[in-house]
């Protein structure tokens, strides 16, 4: 009776599922590269960056689930952290274009030449180095989240007010990045990338490389999130979702806990954005649109907030449906999304994961009397 709980990073079964999902995802580029064209196992080229993109969305969903599903803070600005990570990587790839731009200017991206700028602004310095851009893709969203979180959590802004503030944050960034004189390419954003780390961006082998990086990124993000939610801090987060004042009266700084999780979450979103942009080949201000951030919340809600696997599942499922619907019947997509949102909030608030759990429980309770009869 003196037993106590343990919190493994993953159970043996969890590791098995983790490895299986990893294998399936890695089979995609293998089937694309090595299976004979025309055979049933061969996957078309376009699937690689498409599923790679889903992987980065899944990372983004994990990031949101960490702060929303566990700490109970609904951020509706995670699209901004994602976009900032993306812009950092985009800036690196812009600098990689070098003299291959339309104006052939080695020092300035085309849009700056077009604006008659004479030299690179200070905040573009260093972005010709991959390591610096990659670091900034994590640091910039992290700092923004830290500052916004510090200001809001400290003054105990919670619930819907925090959601509104984060929406305002992403909207403000949207407007700012639209401006040409911000120096991020205005409404065209950053595009026409040529290469990344010396590899041609359009080549299928590069795409496979980016895809594999995304799968690894997703696995890593998942494990980082697991590490947090299985830690004592993870339990403090669940606790403050239930009864924040009780946590404070136990002597914990709830501001500190929230700030940590919010900042980490933004860093992970930035990583996702940095992997996303090279695969889609463009980043523009529309990534900051408030609706994008709301969509992320819908992925998580559909999958089941508060379960990490649910967030991944939700991101894949909703985005697959989006790809399919916007191709088959584009006018239906927004209605579908709205309907999904209503259905999730009203009918299955714990998402697909909760639904599966419910069915399983029902089967289990039905199995018990049957066993009793057998006795």
């Amino acid at each position: 009776m003196r037993d106590h709980p343990t919190y493994p990073l993953l159970t043996p079964r969890g590791w098995l599922v983790f490895a299986l999902v990893g294998l399936v995802l890695l089979a995609v580029p293998a089937a694309n590269q090595w299976a004979a064209t025309g055979s049933a196992a061969h996957l078309p080229d376009y699937l690689v960056p498409l599923i790679g993109k889903y992987c980065t969305y899944a990372m983004l969903a994990l990031a949101l689930d960490l702060i929303w599903g566990y700490a109970g803070i609904l951020s509706l600005g995670h699209g901004a952290f994602f976009a900032l990570g993306g812009y950092c990587m985009g800036m690196y790839m812009m600098r990689q274009i070098g003299t291959r731009g339309v104006y052939g200017n080695a020092d300035l991206p085309d849009f700056m030449v077009f604006l008659n700028w004479k030299e690179l602004p200070w905040y573009w310095q260093g972005f010709d180095m991959f390591w610096f851009a990659a670091l900034m893709a994590l640091v910039v969203p992290g700092i923004l989240a830290f500052v916004v979180g510090w200001l809001t959590f400290r003054s105990r802004v919670t619930g819907v007010y925090l959601s509104i503030i984060t929406q305002a944050m992403t909207f403000a960034l949207l407007l700012a990045f639209f401006r040409n004189n911000m120096g991020f390419g205005g409404n065209n954003g950053l595009t026409d990338f040529k290469e990344i780390l010396g590899f041609p961006i359009q080549a299928q082998t590069t795409r496979v490389g980016l895809y594999v990086a995304s799968v690894i990124g997703l696995g890593l993000t998942f494990l980082i999130c697991r590490a947090v939610v299985t830690s004592k801090l993870g339990r403090v987060c669940l606790a403050l979702r239930d009864a924040e004042s009780r946590v404070r009266f136990l002597g914990y700084s709830t501001t500190g806990a929230k700030l940590f999780v919010f900042t980490l979450s933004a860093v992970l979103a930035g990583l996702a954005g940095a992997l996303y942009v090279p695969q889609v080949g463009i980043i523009n201000p529309s990534e900051f649109s408030p609706a994008n951030s709301i969509e992320i919340a819908i992925w998580v809600a559909v999958g089941g907030r508060g379960t990490l696997s649910g967030a991944v599942l939700g991101a894949f499922a909703v985005n697959w449906a989006k790809t399919w619907l916007t191709g088959a019947a584009p006018e239906v997509w927004l209605f579908f999304l709205g309907l999904l949102f209503v259905a999730v909030t009203l009918l299955f608030p714990k998402g697909v994961t909760g639904l599966v759990q419910q069915v399983r429980n029902r089967l289990a309770t039905r199995a018990i009397p049957r066993q009793a009869e057998g006795d």
């Binding site: 947090v228 606790a239 009864a243 009266f249």
Partner: protein
């Protein structure tokens, strides 16, 4: 930090564990506490009664840093000015509070509720790295010995009965090793049997800690046999043992007689 200058206290006498002087709290002009003064000695068990809205909970809010007083002094152990600290800082001084409405972490297990309470480094990074040590496990088992509930350790706290939640919450205060315990209506919603068990628990705890117990249940207050303070309209109306208080004409008028 300026030590309070307590009237009537001789030099060399130990400081009171809790000292409130002239504490006033107004909500939109309404005085929930009105120049409230109160002295609780170290190791004392004090019961506080008073009609609804007398300011009992507000007093606890002031002591625990939830509400800042507009005026007045609040000192802990003679040296900590509680009006200058936040909730977490006050909790870490060793002041524990049970809310009027039992407040436990419903989505965590009973065991996890206690785990979070057990005294450890409270910093965010320390918490991130925090492991359940053997020492903590022993402490938690001792808490189970005190409050019961051992058989329900892996159940979600939300599944406990009202009375059991009250005990769990008291167990959490003990886990945090609070030296001053503020219990706001600890037997509300309990059966007679549970109430008796809680009285026994409180008397046991009072042997080594300072306790302030707010209750409406006069039977229960009597069973604790401690000094009683009657609050009314935000200040002390009467103080004394239960018989003195029950015989007090003013107390009968505003509270007991109704």
């Amino acid at each position: 930090m300026a030590r309070p200058d307590i009237p009537g206290r001789l030099a060399g006498e130990p400081d009171p564990h809790l000292y409130l002087s002239g504490v006033t709290v107004s909500f939109d002009g309404f005085r929930a506490l009105n120049a409230l003064s109160l002295i609780i000695e170290k190791g004392e068990l004090r019961t506080i009664i008073g009609p609804n809205g007398a300011g009992k909970t507000t007093m606890m809010d002031v002591i625990t840093g939830k509400t800042r007083p507009d005026e007045g002094e609040v000192f802990f152990a003679g040296e900590h000015d509680l009006t200058q600290l936040d909730e977490a800082g006050i909790a870490n001084l060793g002041i524990g509070r049970k809310f009027q409405r039992p407040t436990v972490f419903e989505n965590l297990t009973v065991y996890e509720n206690l785990e979070l309470a057990v005294k450890t480094a409270r910093g965010t990074f320390a918490t991130l790295k925090g492991r359940l040590t053997g020492e903590m496990r022993d402490t938690i088992e001792r808490l189970f010995d005190t409050i019961g509930l051992a058989a329900r350790r892996h159940e979600q706290a939300g599944a406990l009965s009202h009375g059991q939640k009250q005990w769990l919450e008291i167990g959490m205060l003990l886990g945090q090793d609070a030296q001053l315990l503020l219990l706001d209506e600890p037997v509300a919603g309990m059966t007679d049997h549970e109430t008796a068990a809680t009285a026994e628990l409180i008397l046991r705890l009072a042997k080594e800690r300072t306790l302030v117990v707010v209750e409406h249940d006069m039977e229960f207050v009597r069973s604790l046999g401690a000094k009683v303070t009657v609050l009314h309209e935000g200040s002390v109306l009467a103080e004394g043992n239960i018989d003195q208080v029950q015989a007090n004409q003013r107390v009968v008028e505003v509270y007991l007689g109704r």
